[in-house]
């Protein structure tokens, strides 16, 4: 019985030209007409807030993105031109789908970077 490995094997094969396993997030685009839930200021929030019968305090509602639109992550604002030109609050004709789970995460601006890793540079790895 073989132990299945995918990332490890391909990274090992590529390591002569790579350092680290850092990866960058991919922008996700809508495969179909897609609805997302936004708050009264246009920030994307979890769909649960729009699904509740009583509604979201402050007025959440669905925003509809056309197929091919980039999908905002949590707290990204649909008033941003990146999204606004692809969608509206008016439901399109036909069916709509929920945003892929991979976009259900939040973004926040870093005010600094590099505050970890100094001990690794001094001791050369973690050992143990």
């Amino acid at each position: 019985m073989d132990k299945k490995l995918t990332l490890t094997v391909s990274l090992a094969a590529a390591l002569t030209g790579l350092s680290g396993c850092s990866s960058r997030a991919q922008e996700v685009t809508a495969a179909n007409n897609t609805r997302i839930c936004v708050d009264e200021w246009g920030s994307r929030i979890d769909d649960d807030y729009c699904g509740r019968r009583s509604g979201y305090v402050g007025g959440s509602r669905f925003f509809y993105l056309r197929s091919g639109s980039p999908i905002p992550y949590y707290y990204d604002n649909v008033r941003d031109a990146r999204y606004a030109r692809y969608g509206s609050y008016d439901p399109p004709s036909g069916f709509t789908t929920r945003a892929p789970a991979t976009t259900n995460m939040a973004r926040s601006a870093a005010i600094s970077r590099g505050g970890l890793g100094s001990s690794g540079r001094s001791f050369g790895g973690r050992g143990g």
């Binding site: 019985m1 073989d2 132990k3 299945k4 490995l5 995918t6 990332l7 490890t8 094997v9 990274l11 090992a12 094969a13 390591l15 350092s19 680290g20 396993c21 850092s22 990866s23 960058r24 997030a25 992550y73 789970a101 991979t102 259900n104 995460m105 939040a106 973004r107 926040s108 601006a109 870093a110 005010i111 600094s112 970077r113 590099g114 505050g115 970890l116 890793g117 100094s118 001990s119 690794g120 540079r121 001094s122 001791f123 050369g124 790895g125 973690r126 050992g127 143990g128």
Partner: protein
């Protein structure tokens, strides 16, 4: 328990490289050493399993004891400001992989004796979980091996998946020259993905922090759950340490910060105090006299066998160098490792969630340092 000489496979370097073990040779000497292997009986493997599982229970007991007696943490070298949040995390009992490697001295008779528990950033995971298994499958397909680490970690990630927001996990490590950290962390990503998680990799020094003290990745996405191959004692000593501990609620850290209790050699005297007749413990104390004239002095926070000193009847008989000279030391009674003509074996028994999960053997000098070679094993009889 017996050591057997073998002829290494033709092109073994390429074979293990293809399995991810690119650090198979260090300074011209094989680290992955298939010129020999260890052979155990099933009964011996069961003894190792039982020892590791029994010790895991003892570590749980020690953690509860420290939560009730935080005054005993004064000698653990943990910053004062960390202690309360650390114990809060212990009591909160959030999800954890709860994996680690118990290092034993043993000659196959009587009870294995614990040297230490590596459970914050344990190494030799790929070697144990994959490379030695593939070696056995190729050379001894009719025999067994004590290696369920790979499958147990997938199972554990699957069990934890529902507790990870969006079933998403970030994995971080230091970008080391040997690529050992890189590939060990990537192996963990592989296992998590096989359990259905979406993973993202980030180098430890690329992590950022936002205005509210929460950590973010290179794309400024808030990191909701992170596996780090980087010791907690380093994290809390670095620039973001205080903010990370203050905002522990914003991120699920794996392993959790309470691993600072278990992976610290200061716990060894406490274990001995709690269970002085435990079959798998060696006497350990803060002063040398309490453990007898043949003892080992160990810095509480050292790694890879650094700054260890063996003393026998007032005579220093072995010493290793390293950068941890300033760290406080504990003393542990000396266990005479079984001598082979190729070195001294130390047996690393893995557990996942308290269950025994595999064995990895390192063979080196009397003090097992980073030059110690990894040897595979088989079960026969």
């Amino acid at each position: 328990m017996e050591r057997r000489r073998l002829r290494p496979r033709e092109g073994w370097q390429r074979i293990v490289e293809e399995q991810g073990l690119v650090w198979h040779t260090q300074q011209g000497v094989p680290y992955w050493d298939e010129s020999g292997c260890y052979v155990f009986t099933l009964r011996q493997i069961e003894t190792l399993e039982r020892a590791a599982e029994r010790l895991h229970e003892l570590f749980l007991k020690a953690g509860d004891h420290l939560a009730k007696r935080p005054d005993k943490l004064a000698r653990f070298g943990i910053p004062d400001w960390c202690i309360e949040p650390l114990l809060a995390e212990w009591k909160r009992d959030r999800p954890a992989l709860d994996y680690g490697r118990f290092d034993f001295g043993w000659d196959g008779t009587g009870e294995p004796k614990l040297f230490e528990y590596n459970c914050d950033t344990p190494t030799a995971m790929l070697e144990c979980g994959v490379v030695q298994w593939q070696w056995k499958e190729e050379l001894f397909p009719h025999l067994d091996q004590f290696t369920s680490l790979h499958d147990k970690l997938i199972e554990r990630w699957r069990y934890m998946a529902r507790d990870l927001p969006g079933r998403r996990l970030w994995v971080t490590h230091f970008d080391d020259d040997l690529h050992e950290d890189t590939l060990t962390a990537t192996y963990m990503r592989d296992l998590a993905e096989q359990a259905g998680l979406e993973t993202r990799g980030i180098l430890i020094d690329r992590i950022g922090i936002d205005g509210e003290g929460r950590i973010v990745d290179e794309e400024d996405y808030l990191i909701s759950a992170i596996f780090k191959l980087y010791p907690w004692e380093w994290i809390v000593a670095e620039d973001y340490g205080r903010e990370i501990v203050r905002r522990m609620d914003a991120t699920l850290w794996l392993e959790p910060i309470w691993k600072m209790l278990w992976s610290n050699k200061a716990i060894l005297p406490l274990l001995w105090e709690l269970e002085p007749r435990h079959p798998n413990l060696l006497p350990a104390a803060w002063d040398a006299e309490a453990v007898g004239p043949r003892h080992v002095a160990k810095p509480i926070l050292a790694r890879e066998g650094a700054n260890i000193l063996i003393s026998e009847d007032g005579r220093e008989t072995a010493r290793s160098g390293g950068p941890y000279d300033g760290s406080p030391r504990i003393y542990q009674a000396l266990y005479d490792l079984p001598r082979q003509d190729t070195g001294y074996p130390v047996l690393g028994v893995w557990t996942v969630g308290g269950e025994a999960a595999g064995l990895g053997i390192r063979e080196g000098s009397r003090i097992t340092g980073d030059e110690a070679r990894f040897l595979p094993h088989i079960i026969e009889g």
